[in-house]
């Protein structure tokens, strides 16, 4: 069984219109199911698809209408599962008046980390996200990216087996995103599970083992990145050069005709420079799902 199991989640938000007379209901999650193992699992979808809502339900901040969530095989309402979990909310915020160290101390207090271990532990975490030396300054003096990196690092203080991150990369510059990505990879190598939502599809494609695409409260696609990209292979782009000529020619060919064409080119005296798959990127796949959903709705 997976580290995180989400089974058929449904959630409606009731919007009280003015004076609370007419109750408007909005179905936000329409039967979400997936399972996360020791891997990096990306959760992507357009704005308002229900990513944050799913994560809030997983974290037991919001109760679902129906459905089941198991973390380490236990129901998510069991407080003990959080002992072994790390969580970073969307656009995270912490009091500006306290220092980075005071916040880390708070986290260490919660998990009962003894004082003599703290100095080394904090230094380790800060080094991981390239924040060494700022711990004694008030958080209000940090940049937005620094706050995000500090709070990301603090989720690792209890050495969790499952990390849940809601858009950990948004608002970070490429360097910051790289830091988070490399820490995520390192965690996976240590056998941890990372579940994260994101808008930045290039990062997801490069980083995730598997992805789920959520559109309008439903999971449209769930597979490994390699499989998805394979499935959406349109053909190949072949670059060739006629022997003796100096200019290059680019040819497009369907999936089935690749070998045939290669044989022909060879017999006609062409030199083959490169053969590259012509495939939809994850981004194009996502956009196509969103458009399809718009047409249907």
């Amino acid at each position: 069984m997976g580290v995180l199991v989400v089974n058929n989640l449904r959630k409606t938000f009731k919007k009280n219109s003015l004076l609370g007379f007419k109750k408007e209901e909005k179905k936000v999650l329409k039967g979400i199911s997936f399972e996360v193992f020791e891997e990096i699992f990306g959760f992507i979808g357009p704005n308002g698809a229900g990513k944050t809502t799913t994560i809030k339900v997983i974290m037991d901040f919001v109760k679902p209408d129906s459905g089941e969530i198991l973390i380490f095989g236990k129901p998510n309402s069991d407080i003990s599962v959080k002992q072994n979990l790390g969580f970073l909310p969307e656009r995270p915020y912490i009091y500006g008046s306290i220092t980075g160290e005071e916040y880390l101390d708070f986290c260490a207090d919660v998990y009962g980390i003894p004082y003599y271990e703290r100095k080394r532990k904090f230094a380790e975490l800060l080094e991981l996200v390239n924040l060494t030396g700022v711990e004694e300054q008030p958080i209000s003096s940090y940049s937005k990216g620094m706050v995000q990196r500090l709070l990301f690092a603090s989720t690792l203080i209890n050495d969790p087996d499952l990390l849940i991150l809601d858009e950990p990369m948004s608002g970070l510059d490429p360097v910051g995103r790289n830091i988070i990505a490399s820490v995520m990879k390192m965690l996976k190598e240590k056998g941890k599970a990372v579940f994260y939502s994101s808008h930045i599809i290039q990062d997801v494609e490069r980083l995730s083992d598997r992805v789920a695409i959520i559109v309008d409260g439903k999971i449209k696609l769930l597979d490994s990145v390699a499989n998805i990209v394979q499935e959406f292979l349109r053909g190949y782009v072949i670059t060739v050069r006629k022997r003796g000529s100096s200019s290059l020619e680019v040819l497009k060919v369907g999936v089935d005709e690749l070998w045939q064409l290669l044989e022909r080119l060879k017999s006609e005296g062409y030199e083959i420079i490169s053969v590259e798959p012509d495939r939809l990127s994850l981004e194009e796949i996502l956009v196509s799902y969103i458009q399809e959903n718009r047409r249907a709705g």
Binding site: K56, M59, P89, I98, F106, D109
Partner: protein, 266 residues
């Protein structure tokens, strides 16, 4: 049950808030105002000045307790700090109780510093006047008043947290808490008026009397007459019963706040 981490970080945050040092400064300023008022108002100058100084003290602590408890709880939810806190192995009741303990510590420190400010103010005022006031007795009585004012601050903090959880607007929560406080100060005059009136039916009188005993009675904590008029004696039993009253009432309010917060969607 582990409310202490939240209590600690709440206290750390509140101490660095501007309202802490701001209201303490206001208190020093109000001491001068009290002295000025006593010069223009007829009567015993020292007693009038003390009366005003202690009233200002009483209201400043009340205001501080309400601001701090409502503000800090409300902001935690609206600024998404609760997500960071509740993603850790802490129950929602740990959060509410921790918040309350943190506010209690801040109110304790605030009251303690106020006690020093007010006491030194009063001693200065009384030494400039050519009247005899036994200093030891005054200081002792201001200290007893401070203890009650602290209890009141704690009581108000519990209400502040409850209202911050109950209402979806911070301004509404603040106004309600302040209104509750002011109403709770004026309970007995209203009750006396209603009960002695010929125009109120016995049923309504009964309702008013029940409401009188159930409604939080903040005038219990207001013993400044006892400090100003040295002839007044208050039995230790009174202090003990006010202590028990606020203990029970505060626990009940916190219980309701925890119940509501447990069911709240965040």
């Amino acid at each position: 049950m582990n409310p202490f981490p939240v209590a600690k970080i709440t206290f750390e945050e509140l101490l660095k808030e501007k309202s802490f040092i701001g209201l303490l400064t206001l208190e020093v300023f109000l001491l001068f105002v009290s002295k000025l008022i006593s010069n223009v108002v007829a009567g015993d100058t020292v007693k009038v000045a003390m009366d005003f100084a202690l009233s200002f003290f009483f209201f400043t602590v009340a205001l501080y307790s309400v601001f701090v408890s409502v503000g800090s709880t409300f902001r935690d939810v609206s600024d998404r700090v609760v997500y960071l806190i509740l993603s850790k192995p802490l129950k929602r009741s740990d959060y509410v109780i921790g918040k309350f303990l943190g506010c209690t510590l801040a109110v304790a420190l605030f009251t303690f510093l106020s006690f020093f400010i007010v006491t030194s103010g009063i001693l200065t005022i009384s030494s400039t006047a050519n009247l005899y006031v036994p200093h030891v007795v005054v200081v002792e009585r201001v200290f007893l008043l401070s203890l009650l004012v602290f209890l009141m601050g704690v009581f108000l903090s519990a209400f502040g947290i409850l209202f911050a959880i109950l209402f979806t607007s911070q301004v509404l929560a603040l106004i309600s808490a302040i209104f509750l406080f002011l109403a709770g100060l004026e309970l007995s005059p209203v009750k006396e008026l209603v009960v002695s009136s010929k125009y109120v039916s016995p049923v309504n009188k009964l309702i008013v009397q029940i409401a009188y005993y159930l409604f939080p009675n903040f005038s219990l904590f207001d013993v400044k007459d006892y400090v100003v008029h040295l002839a007044i004696k208050v039995s230790p039993l009174f202090f003990a019963s006010v202590f028990i009253y606020s203990l029970i009432y505060t626990s009940a309010v916190l219980l309701v706040a925890t119940y509501l917060f447990d069911r709240r969607e965040l």
